[in-house]
Symmetry: D2
Subunit: 364 residues, 4 copies
């Protein structure tokens, strides 16, 4: 993956800083003839938008998207789809105090080390705001996947030490943490608020599931499906770990415990125990594709922290302002978007290598 | 990442099946003028080679590499470096019994689902043997990195439930599991042999460390250093999880516990607690880069397993033959190779974006 | 080159149709710290804009560009630079009559054959309007090149049978055909107007020159400098041929006539006869880089033409409306833009492979 | 196009120098299940091989290819196809005299300027020998294309001032210049021998034709079919110009003369005048795809030439040895190979964007 572009055939390029005029995405390679009204994109953006619950940032980002190209009469044309989201509530002033200091856990120092430039306004390109562009692109990917019967969703599995014990997909959108276990959700929300009161923040684990993916997706050996999913998920700001299926749990098992038996069910080849998480040898098995990400606690905390100024003098900062005390609930749509983009890309890549498709193009 | 090629500037393409004539790698984009004798590549291949200890496969793969291009008078020329490794001890006959059956935990079914072709001989392209080509390419990457003062090494952290408690880098190459804790290494080896006796296999965790990387490596937002490392490591056959720094441990922490304080040490900006694993915002901090991978237990086990034939009839198989009861020790050089390739690529990418370098090319 | 993106390190993605809300470009990989005010982009767009002379289309496209990202305090930040140009004078109604008919010489039929979709409004993505986005990106490339002492310009060499016989760079911007020979320019303009009166259009030849390029640009064997320039120039709508140096003229020469003698001049290695056009073996020689393109006559002509409707019935059409009778003068800035983008990309690629640059990143 | 790799889905990487151990190619992305015996590759290599006629170099390169991977039981498996060709008759000694001098018209100086390294042995990577690897890859591409009913061939159109006036495809392989006009072929051969006697060499024009390509191939705006063909053909060493259809001839025409009328023929949409060369808007029309290249005269001439030594002293050289007095006949299979690779890539890219193909992957 290079810079701000991801994908080989379904290629997504994002742009924009948190405090510039706008952020956005260009999706190149989307198949033509797919219905796209714009409202699907807005709906996804609304899910990521802050200010919706008492455990997310009270910032008012309207995240109104505008579709600039690639759609005609409600259908994709096969040409690049450009989406722009204006930055509205971007109060740069709030960041003036930070201009000369590196915030711990943020990318302030590393961006300056790389680019020799300091865009101190809310993290610039490293801001979580950039993920809105990913969500917009992911919305398009989801539409493509739906045309092939594939559905992607995500949910919060753990916040700090509190983990879901039950799974009811219906619950996910009914609670502010986006947890599939209603009771755990209540505890999670409490834990987050408690941390916030103490000027602190929390991490957690989010799970992404793709249902309906056909076997055969993945392009070994470096473009394996799990490799691309891992790369895509790890590219989300706060993510420090990715696992597929049993993931790190597999390290503690015996081979006889880990291997999924292969059985026949309704004429289809199945591996229902699915400890592999729907991927073997980097190629989808036809079972649900399951990935989990470790989300670090929001680095913007009110507690005092030791750091340096740009002139390398020691100082102490407390980050005040409107920050999410836990980013997990809002990472849910972002993680879905990333997995959807990877799957859309691999769906097209699978279509490409089937010589039986050639017949369609033979002169008749 | 596309198919069998990884990297934007330091591009590695591997080829070859376990039971074809040869495997190999082409490295395109290696900077010119770097000393490369060939022996560095052979040394790394020898580290990966099976048959060296009682806990690895007794197969005799000599893994003799031949350098076909890209080197002249002991130095790289800047043109593609092709390396070929002949397959010697590839006993296809041993796999005849497997021709019509899908091995659980292997890529037999998924490869056939994708390509419509069954190359049953030892896994074909999905065989662990393919990683020898990665190790050869990684050896070249290591030489490049060394020229920039960067050093990559890996070691086995856990086998099953047994984990290292001490770290002594010297120990790594002194025991067959490649563990930095000599006492834990003994227990690990025992556990592996015990599993093997029962016709079973074990998984574990391997850690990769890069020392000496400058701050500034990484190409946000999709080509972030951690994203590329995650993708590269997850592309290794048995890997089911990747984490950076505290990784999944970060999910349970508060922000105030996770953030690394930034201090000044000998005039340099440092974050010695390095919970971030040397990467913030997808860009290296200058601290050690630390990644860990979850390695699943070898799927080839002697215990009987339920599965299907290609004609979808139920059957039971026991995998016999010369398989590693635990792949961790031999994944150590492979994981180093992948991280080295990613870092070499990002080192070149960092060189590319510095406009102060332009002056060197101005007509004088 | 894939879809709407060009370049390996200096990557340009364009988007937009002639009659959608906007067109634009995202430039990813631009080095940081380079002065970019926005006015440089507007200046180039103004050069491409129609309606400026009596031999160009009287359409009123203001081509006002907006810089959405990648610039902070007047300097590039190293993050993607997004530029949007709104479509203003896009009278879709004028194209209603064309909805069911394929215009000869246009991409109407081929776009529909590929995408199964007909965007009849002014050619949609295949419209010349798309090149405004290229010009915007090229303006950024030119700024990068200028920082390295490289300057790109183009001029009209021939219109139909009328060719320039003298070269005075000053003249180029003083006449509407952008010809470096003032007298030829007058004849060219006359020929164009005469064709226009007859409801016809004219083709021509445009030459692009890059001055100040250092030796060493080009990435053999497929990323050769001339290969990338040829691909980039041929991607401009009306271009049917590309040649470097003597080009097709070389086919009629003997080796002793074609080879450029190598001499020493002011301590530098020079090949002043420069029949090679500044490129040998796909790598720049340090001489001027010279490319020429064959521009076909505008396919929109008033004369009646035989064609088919979408239902495959024969019909005759006359294209009326506001079309350029000859596109050469307006291709001049587009051709410059494409060569500038390729050179900027190769400049970064050259920076990347120099191991002496590594020292700059060594921890001190 | 980056370094030694070309293609997005059908990706060809070549490696090797003229005087190293071997040259070769890796083809990644070839669809599975296509018959490939190896003999198709050898046949194409034999067509490129020198020493076959009195107008080609008397060097004895056997160009025996070995297939290392990607084929099982006579069919492609979808994994990378590696092909190696050993360098046999590589007499490096012959080049010792050239070690310290730059040959005019060759890439000696530019390679050293770029890489800081001088591999003086027969041009190293810039040698025409590298094209054998392209021909091997092209042979695979041709097999893929044949499965889709597409056929690519090339022929010599002009040698110096002598041009073919008739076209009889049968003739092409019956004369040493590979000209479709038997009488012109005799004159061409004479002209070449005459130049050779005088210690000189000749250039010419080669035409490539693809028959049977469906409409819809090409990926605007930068991955247009003509753009990719132009880039691929220009990447061949001696090529200084590329044109499509009427090419530079189009520059002198009126729009009414250039546009191809669109008619219906046997129920199909046709443009039989095909002045566009089978491509409109960068997408194939379904007519023959026609490209022509300008081939410069071989730079190795026996006549004395002025040049410099590496220490920048003036000198005079005469190139003796076994060189082709005209490279056109041997470029014929190379040009076919490049166009075949581009078409195979675009065929797969076309398959990828058809959403009707998704249905094939829907779980049933």
């Amino acid at each position: 993956m290079r810079g701000s572009t991801i994908g080989t055939l379904f290629r997504v390029t994002t742009f924009g800083e948190s405090h510039g005029p706008a952020i956005g995405a260009v999706i190149d390679g989307c198949p033509p003839g797919i219905e796209l009204k714009g409202v699907e994109i807005q709906d996804e953006l609304d899910r990521r938008r802050p200010g919706q619950t008492d455990i997310s940032s009270p910032r008012r980002e309207m995240d109104q998207c505008e579709l600039l190209s690639g759609v005609f009469r409600g259908k994709t044309t096969g040409t690049p789809i450009a989406i722009v989201i204006r930055n509205m509530d971007s109060n740069s002033k709030a960041y003036d105090a930070l201009e000369e200091v590196y915030r711990p856990g943020h990318a302030d120092y590393t961006y300056e080390a790389r680019y020799g430039i300091r865009d101190h306004r809310g993290g610039g390109r490293s801001s979580g705001r950039e993920t809105a562009a990913r969500v917009a692109a992911g919305a398009v990917a989801k539409v493509v996947l739906r045309a092939a019967g594939i559905n992607v969703f995500a949910h919060t599995l753990c916040i700090g030490e509190v983990c879901a014990r039950e799974f009811d997909r219906e619950q996910i959108d009914l609670n502010p943490v986006r947890c599939a276990d209603a009771r755990a959700a209540v505890k999670m929300a409490k834990a987050i608020l408690k941390a916030q009161e103490k000027g602190d923040s929390m991490g957690g684990i989010v799970e992404v599931v793709a249902v309906g993916a056909p076997p055969g997706l993945g392009d070994p050996v470096f473009g394996k499906l799990d490799a691309d999913i891992a790369g895509a998920l790890m590219s989300i700001g706060a993510v420090k770990g990715v696992e597929i299926g049993l993931g790190f749990g597999a390290a503690g098992l015996k081979g006889s415990e880990m291997n999924d038996p292969i059985i026949r069910e309704k004429g289809r080849i199945r591996m229902p125990s699915n400890r592999a998480g729907g991927i073997l040898g980097g190629i989808s098995t036809g079972e649900d594709i399951i990935a989990r990400i470790a989300v670090k606690p929001t680095p913007s905390v009110g507690k005092p922290q030791k750091t340096l100024t740009r002139k390398k003098s020691s100082t102490t900062i407390k980050i005040t302002g409107r920050h999410d005390p836990c980013i997990c609930p809002r990472i849910v749509p972002v993680a879905e978007a990333m997995v959807a983009c990877v799957l859309a890309d691999h769906l097209l890549r699978l279509c490409a290598i089937r010589p039986d498709h050639f017949d369609n193009f033979r002169a008749k």
